[in-house]
Symmetry: C2
Subunit: 416 residues, 2 copies
Amino acid sequence: MTRPGIDADRLWGDMMALGGITEPDRPYTRRAFSPMFAAGRAFLAERMRDAGLSVRIDAAGNLIGRIEGAIPGLPAIAMGSHSDTVPSGGRFDGIAGVIAALEVARAIAEAGAPLRHPLEVIDFLAEEPSDFGISCIGSRGMTGRLSAEMLAATAPSGHSLADGISDVGGDPDRLDEAVRTDIGAFLELHIEQGPVLEAEGIDIGIVTAIAGIRRIEIEFAGQAAHAGTVPMHLRRDAGYAGALAMIAVRERAEAMAAAGLGYVVATVGIVDVRPGGSNVVPGRCRLVVDARSDVLALIDAFMEGLRADCVAVAAKAKVELAGFRTLSDGVPAICAPALRQAIGAAADGLGLSAVDIASGAGHDCAFLAAICPAAMIFIPCLRGMSHTPEEYATEAQLAAGTATLLETVLALDGDG
Amino acid sequence: MTRPGIDADRLWGDMMALGGITEPDRPYTRRAFSPMFAAGRAFLAERMRDAGLSVRIDAAGNLIGRIEGAIPGLPAIAMGSHSDTVPSGGRFDGIAGVIAALEVARAIAEAGAPLRHPLEVIDFLAEEPSDFGISCIGSRGMTGRLSAEMLAATAPSGHSLADGISDVGGDPDRLDEAVRTDIGAFLELHIEQGPVLEAEGIDIGIVTAIAGIRRIEIEFAGQAAHAGTVPMHLRRDAGYAGALAMIAVRERAEAMAAAGLGYVVATVGIVDVRPGGSNVVPGRCRLVVDARSDVLALIDAFMEGLRADCVAVAAKAKVELAGFRTLSDGVPAICAPALRQAIGAAADGLGLSAVDIASGAGHDCAFLAAICPAAMIFIPCLRGMSHTPEEYATEAQLAAGTATLLETVLALDGDG
């Protein structure tokens, strides 16, 4: 028996190999429920078996590799992320966490002595929004948050999500069996998908919380009119109202972020101005606002302030605030302090720099946090890019994160 | 011989009859070059012949009815507008000016003595943008402004504009013959298409100038990014830049309009934010700005100021001003002071209220102003609406405008 250690070359080789399983005409694409996704999972299952893990698909369609622990009855230490991608996505988002978990399990298996706890490597089903329009399907299923309504959601093909789960080897009729009460800790390694770690030259991000995301739709209704014949002071220009509201979103989020009470970002990603003719004063404007924070009260405060802004904006532009509607609402998930501490100690022991960071993106870990202590390890990525073929982390960055994951697992196994 | 007078009921009856010639499933639609357009022109030609006018189609495809004058060699007094509509348009835009001209010619013909000058009623071909993407085709042709490039423009059907002109009875190979040097005055009656006359309770608008229209395309290029992971202060949000520029357009135009140096309006009618996902910080934003004034220097000043605004906006949003490009540029057309004076005297003689007003919309008259003294009579329309089936002017409003047109023609004939 030797002390477990990761093999950085093998780790990188598996990353590149899984990345290579892509729709050839639009790298890197391995969408959940697609044949390429199945090929990726076959690759992962084979690697897990090669390392001595027992492999199964749970009722929610998650691929799980497991090594039993030395002491019966202890809860499992689980690691993982997702192997599916967005269309024309990258090779690291999700995948890094699955391959890192595989490497950690492999290193432990090779060392010749099992942990005290069972160890699991999980590839959660369909973290990215798939054709069914629902994200985090597998982690929702594992935490009892996949509703009958979601199972009935249909893809453009006409297939239901229940069909999709069956197709990947799950059992939508027995979803209860996927819900876990035997996980003692969950750890997810992930690329940051943002620019902070790289900009600050930090090796490891210790995630404090996964931001809650509230999406709202704002609609202004004015009066479409001839762009030449209606004097400025008589206009009821919904586009003008929309522009004022966009500024309000930006300035309010900037001010709240600068106040330092928590992580706050807000984005207007969808702007729809109608009728959309160069010679027509817009009569309608629709905005979709995405606001995120690791502190729920800050999301509430942002939205309360923005609603007041929109009432003022509508009055200024002489239009009607025709809608201010919540499209979706997810609360922040707090990462377990004990796990964060373990990650910090592991990084410190490895001589790596680490910093607390909020995750602005959603992750499977946010669901796992509802059933067990859960935490995340972020590694830097090139210029914060994600969901693009240019998405990148270096072999050294990935190895540093994976080593931190391994040391954290070993520490948790020793403590728990 | 009696003094000519208009017949308001006959005038209104012809308006409604021509309006009734519409695609039945989307009133009021009589698009240039369509079978419905041909039916409308057949109606007009028949009414002209019934009134004793000689009828022809010129080489540019304009329908022209004419009564010769009593004194050989005098230039013609011409009146007219256009009978084509936008899809799902109204019964008055353009049509009112053609029918009013017909009624004036009919009233003069009935009175039993010709004018000293020849009198013409003109239905200009395709004032509205047709499938060929070019407006004011007939008035361009009559004034020598229909280029070979325009003639080669093709509709989605594959037909060229030259084909279209042939189809309506014109002769694109002999366009020179359409260019007129024998018109002494041109008068166009039109609905205001704006809210000013109705709001102020005025019967007649004496158009001072037809606004020049400059359209520019502004593009901002930032960096598309994850809406959750990029802190506010690191964003390069092109949508934010776009919103700031939209505010600049509005506030600059408002300030210039309020300064009272001329008519100024500016509109952002097209807003295109990419990639357009709720969870993506916009990387590109494209705006189309339509700015109009009756004073060319004010358009220049507006655009110069706006360009400086956009440079400042791009710096503030940390994006690039990737484009500030003129898409089209039309200079203001000044209405002839002598004709304006005649219109004012005619209205006054009829006991009608009148006010000077700039035309923010383009009209065939803007082209005619390049070859002869030209002017326009505006009549009020319901809530300023145009290019919609709700477009409306009352029988009394139309009759007042037509009577003003008749009295102006009679005065010009006496003076000229």
